[in-house]
């Protein structure tokens, strides 16, 4: 019924079906000065969807720090850009593809990766690394998860991992890091956040501003089909219901081969010097690219849809404008030089057609075979959409007493069995089963791939100084603890920044900038907006304190199913710069006999901050109840995230970077999920069969000392000849460096607390549990 849809008369009911409120619809009519036709209504509905317009988040996002010495391009373009010296810039961004990945895990994940890669090379940067931050429901049945749900979660994980691998492996960019978490709340709403990093020369960065009256507007890449129509508005901007499986046709389908061709062709076409502006077609496809390019350039654009390469016959203007077919770009070339651009795309076997031109009218005019199909002022459509100050309401505090908290095991008990359970939990266990399905070594830049260092580290070959032979490297880590954010969104968000930055510092790199992906429930719920607002405050504060301005990212609302929201889950990606790539630090112990130190940026005084108010340092059980150990061993998720001291974090990170720059350390690994014991064990697991013997002199319950997750700490090792320098640098930065033991080749992990043994186990037993747990869980079916 190709023609029928264009003739549908728009009514308030149809506007409502498109997700536009009565007010929004009134505004559409005001901007146009008339009733919209169905194509125009479709265009407004996607541009003003939550996903594209940020209408609920805009007022809060303004509070984030986005400026800094190294920031070349902050939020608002396709990706953030930071200066990494030597005339080079790094271009990076993280984005969500949550809903599509639940409806159709493989395709949802592939197009998530494809979308973020396009954002990077649209800017003129060659992608060099991908990271993925994933959250799933529990993989095995439990009190909180039925077997049916667990099986579904395993299928979703499998599809997502295959999808990420399929796209990145074929495209030829290594997937080098990220993290995976598991909580029951992600069972019906997994999170798939993909981060991509690219490199360009500073002067070669491209922006998406349509300039130059009369310049041709060129469509390149894959043909337009009926896939993904309303992906942004109906999938990404509404919560799930029982009918969500019917949304499968809204999921886009990715083709990494075409994207690889598009990458090479775009970079080659950019080198001709004939391209003025370029934007990828992601969410809201042709609609978003035409409107935003015209709006940013202060110009108008006219295109004729008859010229757009189409995969199917009989597509209406509505369908063509709203299609989210993948692997497409819109670009503006210099007048009379279009053939230079078209020739490059032809060489790579891609469609490229002049579809229209830039004008000075300030209007996006969409024609179809010469007849006007839609005509909308660009700026009001792109920039004057609705902005909401949504109601905020702090949820009523649950009565919280010590009775709800974790009960510590009496002194003297052997904790090895619990330690094994913790090592087997999917959050802690080795992710090798997942990461081996990703190409981690293509492009030969990977200095530290998954599990080698706390952050992924890739060198930048273009930065080679031919005289000194020194090359720079970039480190990237993502982090976000939804459980902590649920308990205290502000402090949880601060921890996300602090841990990602600490990971980067543990690799030896100095944290320089951030990107964020904010995954939340429905913004129409006051408590969700409270979580969001608190999160923004926490992120802002932490990013300021740690010197990592936010350069971009995305907001994903409506992560809920049947009215139940996910934990608020801000995922932070931190980028770090390592001036000399040979100074990269890894987490594996290196040599028998090396000394092991605990680095601790101690908290200021005995008062800590929780949710804005300074409160006395609490009962240790209160913080411990939010730990991975408490959840795994007792099923208790309660209390508060650990207290955070950003100044202490900063001291520790600066200290680690200084230690790396002088190559003082043999290994460095930050203490996070699973606490001290897990961190120590991981440094053994990653090594060539080395183990450790340590003694801690600390007050407090053994479980808290071993498994508590307080930040600003790291376990490092060093040769005896480096110890004096280690202690000197630590003193200089105000970090406590305590010698706790040494690396051994005894094959046994021994941890003593105040002289008595608390964990004593053959390393092989611990390693087997940790290394194969995930695989064992996934084989269950």
């Amino acid at each position: 019924m190709a023609t029928a849809i264009t003739e549908i008369k728009v009514t308030p009911e149809i506007a409502a079906e498109h997700g536009l409120s009565a007010d929004e619809y009134a505004r559409v009519k005001q901007i146009l000065g008339r009733e919209p036709n169905i194509t125009e209504l479709g265009i407004f509905s996607v541009m003003w969807s939550e996903h594209c317009s940020y209408k609920s988040s805009k007022v809060h996002l303004k509070r984030l720090p986005t400026r800094g010495r190294v920031v070349v391009q902050g939020p608002g373009e396709n990706a953030g850009v930071v200066d990494i010296g030597g005339g080079l810039v790094a271009c990076f961004k993280i984005e969500s593809h949550n809903h599509p990945s639940y409806v159709e895990p493989f395709q949802g994940a592939t197009t998530g990766v494809g979308g973020i890669l396009r954002d990077i090379f649209t800017m003129g940067a060659r992608p060099i690394a991908i990271l993925d931050s994933l959250r799933f429901g529990e993989l095995v049945a439990s009190k909180t998860t039925t077997e049916e749900d667990a099986a579904k979660n395993r299928r979703v994980l499998d599809g997502v991992v295959r999808g990420i691998g399929h796209y990145g492996n074929c495209f030829g960019v290594p997937t080098v890091g990220g993290e995976v978490g598991f909580e029951p709340c992600y069972s019906q709403n997994p999170l798939v956040n993909a981060l991509a990093l690219g490199i360009a020369r500073k002067e070669d960065i491209f922006l998406a501003k349509a300039k130059g009256i009369g310049n041709p507007v060129i469509y390149v890449g894959a043909k337009t089909g009926r896939d993904g129509i309303h992906g942004a508005s109906l999938l990404a901007s509404a919560e799930f219901t029982e009918e969500s499986q019917q949304k499968r046709p809204n999921v886009q389908v990715g083709d990494p081969f075409v994207e690889k061709l598009l990458l090479e062709a775009c970079l080659e076409a950019m080198r001709t010097g004939a391209i003025v502006a370029i934007q990828d077609m992601g969410a809201a496809g042709l609609t978003c690219s035409t409107t935003e390019m015209a709006s940013r350039g202060g110009t108008g654009i006219e295109i004729d849809l008859a010229k757009i390469p189409q995969r199917e016959t009989g597509m209406t203007p509505y369908e063509i404008m709203l299609s989210e077919s993948q692997e497409r770009m819109l670009l503006v070339a210099e007048k009379d030089r279009e053939s230079e651009v078209l020739d490059v795309f032809k060489k790579w076997g891609l469609d490229a057609v002049v579809a229209g031109s830039v004008n000075d009218g300030g209007v996006v005019c969409i024609k179809n075979h010469g007849r006007v199909a839609a005509e909308i002022p660009a700026h009001p459509l792109a920039e004057e959409g609705p902005v909401y100050q949504r109601p905020i309401g702090q949820p009523g505090l649950k009565k919280e007493t010590a009775a709800n908290w974790f009960a510590f095991t009496p002194e003297g008990a052997d904790l090895t069995q619990n330690f094994l359970k913790l090592l087997a939990s999917p959050a802690i266990a080795s992710k090798r089963w997942i990461t081996e399905q990703y190409d981690t070594s293509v492009r030969t830049n990977t200095l530290a791939g998954p599990g080698a260092s706390d952050a992924a580290v890739v060198r930048v070959k273009e930065s080679l100084d031919s005289e000194s032979g020194v090359m720079r490297a970039l480190a990237l880590a993502t982090d976000g603890n939804g459980r902590w954010c649920q308990l205290n969104p502000r402090v949880g968000a601060m921890h996300a920044v602090a841990e990602a930055a600490r990971n980067v510092a543990c690799s030896g790199a100095k944290p320089i900038a951030a990107t964020n992906c904010l995954n939340f429930g429905s913004p129409e719920k006051p408590e969700v907006m409270w979580q969001f607002s608190q999160t923004i405050d926490g992120l802002g504060e932490a990013c300021l304190a740690l010197g990592t301005p936010i350069t971009g990212g995305n907001v994903s609302f409506y992560n809920e199913t049947l009215g139940r929201s996910i934990y608020p889950t801000p995922v932070i990606g931190i980028l770090g710069l390592l001036e000399d790539s040979s100074k990269v630090m890894k987490l594996a112990f290196r040599s028998d006999g090396d000394d092991i130190f605990l680095l601790d940026g101690p908290l200021a005084g005995n008062r800590s901050e929780h949710g804005g108010a300074m409160v006395p340092a609490s009962d240790p059980a209160r913080e411990f109840s939010s730990s991975e150990y408490s959840k795994t061993i007792s099923g208790i998720v309660a209390g508060q995230p650990p207290a955070i001291d950003l100044a202490a974090e900063k001291r520790l990170q600066d200290c680690l970077v200084a230690l790396a720059s002088e190559s003082v350390l043999a290994s460095a690994h930050d203490i996070s999920d699973g606490g001290f014991a897990v961190t120590l064990a991981e440094s053994c697991f990653a090594s060539n069969e080395l183990s450790a013997q340590v003694n801690l002199d600390e007050a407090g319950p053994a479980e808290e000392v071993l498994f508590g997750e307080r930040g600003a700490r790291a376990i490092v090792s060093a040769k005896q000849t480096s110890i004096a320098r280690l202690q000197e640098i630590a003193r200089q930065y105000g970090v406590a460096a305590t010698r706790i033991g040494r690396v051994t080749s005894a094959g046994t992990l021994r941890i003593q607390l105040n002289g008595s043994s608390v964990i004593d186990s053959p390393l092989a037993t611990l390693h087997d549990t940790w290394a194969h747990s995930l695989e064992r869980m996934l084989k269950v079916s």
């Binding site: 691998g165 074929c170 081969f257 061709l261 081996e436 190409d439 070594s441 293509v442 060198r459 040979s582």
Partner: protein, 236 residues
């Protein structure tokens, strides 16, 4: 001496091969476009890894019909050195320049990790710089590396000493644990009867600097350089 790295649409290890030859070995190297019917007077050709033409039909099955492969066939029949890595190996099999065929990995998943291979024969231009039974640590990254042959062909290959590399454990044993993909008889790489065409699944070009995990791939590339230098001397 000049190396040529073929670029198919979808090749994604072409830059790495180029870098290994040009920047690490510092030898002349250029890219050769898939539609080219001549090999720009190169003395050795590398078919790099990747997903040529998207590999939709079967790995290497479309690339086999490209114009450049016609030229590579002619070059190989004339005794020119041809190295196929990963997708390049798959293409050489499809083109009939090497025996055998690739199936999906036995685990039915893409695998990327460092593996160990043993140099079985050193009398080839690709292994002359290696010691017999030398163990090399190289990365693999593929879905279809499950090398398959009929037993008669295997016997033939054994007889003519065409099995050049075998997967092994780090200490050199033939234990199945060293075989990542189910390849028959742990075969990781073979040559043609004339020994001037070699294909292998692991990536020597990704292992040319210890900073990225291993420099063991250099022995293969250096062997090629020595062979070319020797040939140049012989004709001079």
């Amino acid at each position: 001496m000049k190396f040529g790295v073929v670029v198919f649409p979808g090749s994604n290890c072409d830059h790495d091969a180029f870098y290994a030859i040009g920047n690490i070995l510092k030898k002349p190297v250029e890219f050769i476009w898939h539609q080219s019917e001549n090999l720009a007077n190169c003395d050795a050709i590398i078919l790099p890894g990747g997903f040529s033409y998207g590999d939709y039909l079967r790995t290497g099955a479309i690339a086999r019909f490209s114009p450049v492969i016609k030229a590579v066939e002619k070059f190989a029949h004339g005794g020119g050195l041809v190295l196929g890595v990963c997708n390049g190996f798959q293409i050489l099999c499809e083109a009939g320049l090497l025996p055998g065929a690739m199936m999906r990995n036995s685990g039915l998943r893409f695998i990327c990790r460092h593996v160990h291979i043993r140099v079985e024969q050193t009398d080839t231009p690709f292994t002359s710089a290696a010691r017999k039974n030398q163990i090399l640590k190289l990365p693999i990254a593929h879905s279809d590396g499950n090398y398959n042959l009929d037993e008669n062909t295997v016997a033939d290959l054994e007889k003519n000493r065409q099995i050049i590399f075998r997967y092994t454990t780090p200490d050199g044993s033939d234990d199945a644990a060293g075989n990542p993909n189910g390849a028959m008889h742990n075969i990781a790489g073979v040559c043609n009867r004339e020994r001037n065409v070699v294909g292998l699944m692991p990536h020597p070009e990704r292992a040319v600097e210890s900073a990225v995990g291993s420099a063991d791939g250099l022995v293969i590339l250096r062997s090629m350089v020595e062979a070319l230098a020797g040939a140049a001397k012989a004709t001079a």
